[in-house]
Homo-oligomer: 241 residues x 2
Amino acid sequence: MFKETNLRSIAKGISWRFFATTTTIIIVYIFFGKLDLAIAAGIAEALSKIILYWIHERVWQRLRWGKKMIEPFNIWFTGLPLSGKTTIADGVYKKLKSMGILVERIDSRDVRKLFPEVGFTREERNRHIKRIAHLVGTLQKNYVSAVCSFVSPYVESRDYVRKMTKNPVIVYVKASVETCMKRDYKGVYEKALKGEIKNFTGISDIYEEPIDPDIVIDTEKTSIDEAVDMVVKYIKSKYIK
Amino acid sequence: MFKETNLRSIAKGISWRFFATTTTIIIVYIFFGKLDLAIAAGIAEALSKIILYWIHERVWQRLRWGKKMIEPFNIWFTGLPLSGKTTIADGVYKKLKSMGILVERIDSRDVRKLFPEVGFTREERNRHIKRIAHLVGTLQKNYVSAVCSFVSPYVESRDYVRKMTKNPVIVYVKASVETCMKRDYKGVYEKALKGEIKNFTGISDIYEEPIDPDIVIDTEKTSIDEAVDMVVKYIKSKYIK
C-alpha cells in the first residue's frame, strides 16, 4: 500500500507555493498597481499557505477516493528449452518495472530450484503449472502483474493459465528443435539425446504448439530487443492507459 | 499500483481553492483595506489557480519520490482442527482490510480444495506449507501482507514460515482436543475416531506445540472478538506507524 510521506507533502507545498504566490503578486499588482504592497501581501500569503497546504495534503492522503489501480495482467512465455523465453521475459520485466508497474517475475528455473521434488511427467508438469497459475492469480487479486516463463508444453497447462489468471497474454517463443540444439550452451540437449535426462521436451517429450497464442515470436527472425519491444507495446496498448 | 485519477486532482484543486482564496482575500483586505477589490482579486486568483493547481497535481502524480509502502507482515495461525483458527483469522483479515491495508487471506480449506492431491503425511504437509510460505513471500515482495490459517502441526513447517516470509507473526490458537471435539459441528473428529480419516491431527497424528509463538490465544478463556483485537493491536504496534 502506498503512503505519502510527510516530506513529500512539504515538498509539494513548496513547489506549489512558488507558482501560486507569483500568480497572487501579479493579480494584486494588476488590481492595485502597487508593486511593493503586492509583494508584501504575497509574502504574507506564502507563509500562511505553506502550512495550510501541508494540512490539506495530509487530510487528502487519508482519502482513498480517486486512487485507481492498474488492471493486472499475466504475460506467459511458453516454448522449447533454450528457445529464448527467459531472456526475453527478463527484458520485458525490466522494462515494465522501469515504468513503475507493480510486477513479479516468475521463472521455471527459480521455482524448480525451490521445489526439486517436482518431476517432469505430464501429470506433474500440469500440477506444477496449476500451482504457478494459482500464485499468479493471488498476486493479481492484489494488483500485482506477472511475467512468467515456463516450457509449459501441454495444452492443459496453458488452459489453467487462461482460466486461473486475469488478462493472460500467452507468448509463444518459437524456435525449431535444431536451432535450440545449436544454442545448447547448458549441454542439456546433449544429455537428453544420450538419455541422461528423461522427459526432455523436444527430444523425449512432446511440445504441443499453442493454437491461439496472443503473440508469436519467431526467434530465428526476431532479435531479443525487437521481441521485448513487441511484448511491451502489446501490454501498453491493452492494459496501460 | 496506485494511480490518481484526473477527477481526484480536480476535487483536490477545488477543496484547496476554498481555503486558499479565503486566506488571500483576508490578507489583501488587511493590506489594502478595500473589501470589494480584495474579493475581485480573490475571484481572479481562484479562476487562474484552479487550473494551475490541476497541472501541478498531474506533474506530481508522475513522481514516485516520497511514496512509501507499508512493511508487509505475515500472520500465521496454527492449532488443532476446530481450535478456532479460521474464525479468528477471518476477523483479523476483515479488520485489517477495513484499515486500508493491502492484505491477502489464505486458508487451508481453500487451498486444499484447489489441490486435492496433497495428502496428510508428514512429508506432504511440510511440502504444502513450504509452498504456502513461498506464495506469501512472493506476495510480500510486492508489498502485500498475509493472514494464513493452517493446522501446520510440525516444527519444520513453522520453520519454513519463519524463514521464507518477512515479519512472521506465529499465532498459536490453543484448545484442548476435548474442547475441539465438543465443537465438532463438521463431524470430522467423529470420523477420525472411527478411523475414516487418516493422519488426523489430535487423534491419529501429532500436534507439536509451538515453542516460541508470538501470540498465544487460549480459546477456552478468550472470546473471538477479544482474540481478533489482540492480534490487530499487536500488528498495529509493530508494523503500522
